[in-house]
Amino acid sequence: MQRTISVFTLVFFALITLAKDPGMKKGTPDIVSLSVLEFNKDGILFIGDSKGGAIYAVDLDDDKASSNDKPLNILDLEDKLAGMLGTTVDNIMVHDMAINPISQNIYLSVSRGRAKWSSKWETPNDLMDADVLIKVSPTGEMSEASLENVEYSSVTIPNPIDASIQHRWKKGATLRSDAITDIAFDDGKVYVTGLSNEEFRSAMWTAPYPFSKDISANTLEIFHGAHGKWETAAPVRAFLPYELNNQKQLLAAYLCTPLVTINAENLKEGQHVKGRTVAEFGAGNFPIDMVLYQNKGKDYILMSNSALPLLLFDPEDVANYNGEITEEVQGYLAGVKYTPRSGSGVQQLADFNSKYILATQRLPNGKLVLTSLSKEWLYP
């Protein structure tokens, strides 16, 4: 009887371990820069480390389910972060935000480096390596999320762009800060965008999760209507996987702001993949973040920008758009239409709960707030 119980116990714990990630080990991941954050549906945090050239999957032991559907607003987010990091508010920089879909805890990658900002084209990762992970509870309590002695696994990105290559016009920035620009998790796969050392630098890597060595690499090429040319050097800035007409596509946004669909089926190891440009949303801007949400049971996508307003578009419009932008567009706008929504200064976006999207937003008074955007009011 005792033996039966022991075997049962072993199988039970083995199943629990398998359900998470059998490749995980306990320790302190050697992360150089917390460049990009993303959760999967099981509450595993994926961290893109541009400088280290790796993706980490971290189990933060944060799996207490929350059914909260209240908004969260923190009016002085940077003041509080400054307090935690023992510095002044003008030195605080939030690099990325992700929300654990199980616990609804919000995670921010943060650094003390904002004082270095000197150009509207610079991203936080150009200026500093985010080196602290902050957890904000759904009710606003803030604490450090320690990455010491955690369960984690990792995979190395093959051939990330070399650390010595200077950005062509961003003074002092190297392209390595864009080795990883965004991560998305879908159907057991981790999609990663960024820059590689290939002749066509814009890259998409696809890794199975749990991680194995079978990570595939693709170079990307798109037609940028506002520039009137095919481009391969600029990385995807924000993207998300979405099924259009029964085909898995990656909806990707680039600098100056083309929207492109990339057929996931074409992402076979080593292939050079051309995206289909379906929209031009405006020049002089880089997209910061994209979030998929539902309003009255219908999907919409919200996109935050460095210089354009908050953009809302209907993925059904993308599915129904049969054309492809392959010629220079006049006036910087073309293809699928978007709806501008109030929300200038919105930066990071993440799906918070059934009713709200959470955003960081720079107010006219200079404060950075954590604010809740009601899904009910976000429709075209």
Binding site: D76, D79, K80, A82, G83, M84, G86, T87, S143, E144
Partner: protein
């Protein structure tokens, strides 16, 4: 040690702050802050007066960060979450090390509460006081840049001086250097536009040496700026070169102290360097030392690249150029057995007024000695 009754802390955060400020001077002994820039932990706030038996109780509980901060907190303002970092017990004292280098500009509010400690220990503590204080971390001395030297290091300079070089102990920031440097006359009046303004300044690559170029158009006689604005320095007058200590280094810390040097302007030096007037004396033991007394005070950084020693077979010997003063140079070289060597002088050598071995700065392009081969002096070595 001053005990602050807990009830006094009621009345909101504003009241707390006012209270902390009012009691600042009385409560200093309970906490101390120390900056350790070379340490991985950067600095510590230490609470030294908690009795040993209570320290032992705390040690036994192995508190988490949240538990520690329930009774012992460091904040930048009353509304912020506690500063993140590590709490531990060091030499029987309670020590907090912030995760990031403490900012010397910030006043940190430190609070230690016995009642809160009793609550988290679920035990009775006879002490009932709450101690609070405002501490700040002194900027670590090593991060404050200093002016190492300003050359030419002369109390008397020719009135047509062309450059100063300012050497710093650490890289300087990107502020406009000319906002912090001035030349005053003996009445304390600041000279107008004495320097050529180069955006961000003329720096070496690691920003530890600034070249201050006195306006050559005013130094050189008979040309536009000199005719309209006059000489910068006039012979027989006293001036003071001043550098303000508010100038910040790349670390963000200002200069350790201001710089001030009195300068007397003597007659202008408007002649080419005449190397034939130089006195050379060479000695040799393990290394060779050539001492040169020059006819003009030389531009030192330039001279270090323009003087070299060659043997009679034409081989350049490894050497090092050092200045005892702008008019006394020592060249150290590695002996190769030669008893006679050559001192080579690049014709681009300049004195502090821009005069070269080929022409005087004021006469450039007008009366010019044509170079007849290399400029070279031979010398014998005394053993």
């Amino acid at each position: 040690m001053k005990r602050i009754p807990l009830k006094n802390l009621k009345g909101g955060t504003f009241g707390l702050l006012c209270f902390l400020f009012s009691l600042n001077t009385f409560a200093q002994s309970f906490f101390s802050a120390e900056t350790l820039p070379q340490s991985k932990t950067y600095g510590t706030v230490t609470t030294r007066l908690v009795p040993e038996d209570i320290v032992k109780l705390i040690e036994d509980h192995n508190f988490t960060f949240d538990e520690w901060t329930s009774f012992y907190q460091i904040r930048t303002n009353p509304n912020s979450p506690p500063v993140i970092g590590e709490y531990k017990i060091v030499d029987n004292h309670l020590a907090f090390s912030p995760k990031f280098l403490p900012d010397p500009k910030i006043q940190y509010i430190v609070t230690f509460s016995y009642p809160q400690l009793a609550q988290i220990l679920s035990s009775t503590i006879s002490e009932q006081a709450v101690y609070s204080d405002i501490v700040s971390f002194k900027p670590p001395e090593t991060t404050r840049p200093e002016i190492v030297s300003v050359i030419p290091n002369l109390e008397i300079v020719p009135a047509n001086l062309l450059r100063f070089y300012v050497y710093f102990s650490a890289p300087m920031g990107i502020e406009n250097p000319y906002d912090f440097i001035k030349i005053e006359d003996k009445d304390g009046k600041t000279l107008v536009d004495p320097f050529v303004i180069v955006p961000e300044g003329l720096w070496n690559i690691d920003r530890t040496r600034l070249t201050l170029l006195l306006h050559p158009g005013r130094v050189k006689q008979g040309i536009g700026p000199n005719m309209t604005e006059g000489d910068i320095l006039r012979a027989g007058n006293e001036y003071t070169l001043k550098i303000n200590s508010e100038w910040k280094g790349a670390s963000g810390e200002p200069l350790k102290e201001s710089f001030s040097r009195k300068i007397n302007a003597s007659n202008p030096l408007r002649k080419a360097i005449n190397v034939n007037l130089w006195a050379l004396k060479a000695e040799q033991n393990q290394i060779g030392i050539l001492t040169i007394i020059t006819d003009h005070p030389l531009d030192q950084p330039l001279a270090k690249r323009m003087l070299y020693i060659r043997n009679r077979e034409g081989k350049i010997l490894p050497s090092q150029v050092e200045f005892t003063s702008p008019e006394e140079v020592k060249i150290l070289w590695r002996p190769d057995g030669s008893t006679e060597l050559e001192l080579h002088i690049d014709h681009r050598l300049e004195d502090v007024c821009g005069n070269t071995p080929l022409y005087a700065f004021d006469l450039e392009g007008n009366t010019r000695n044509e170079a007849s081969g290399e400029i070279m002096l031979t010398f014998k070595i005394q053993k």
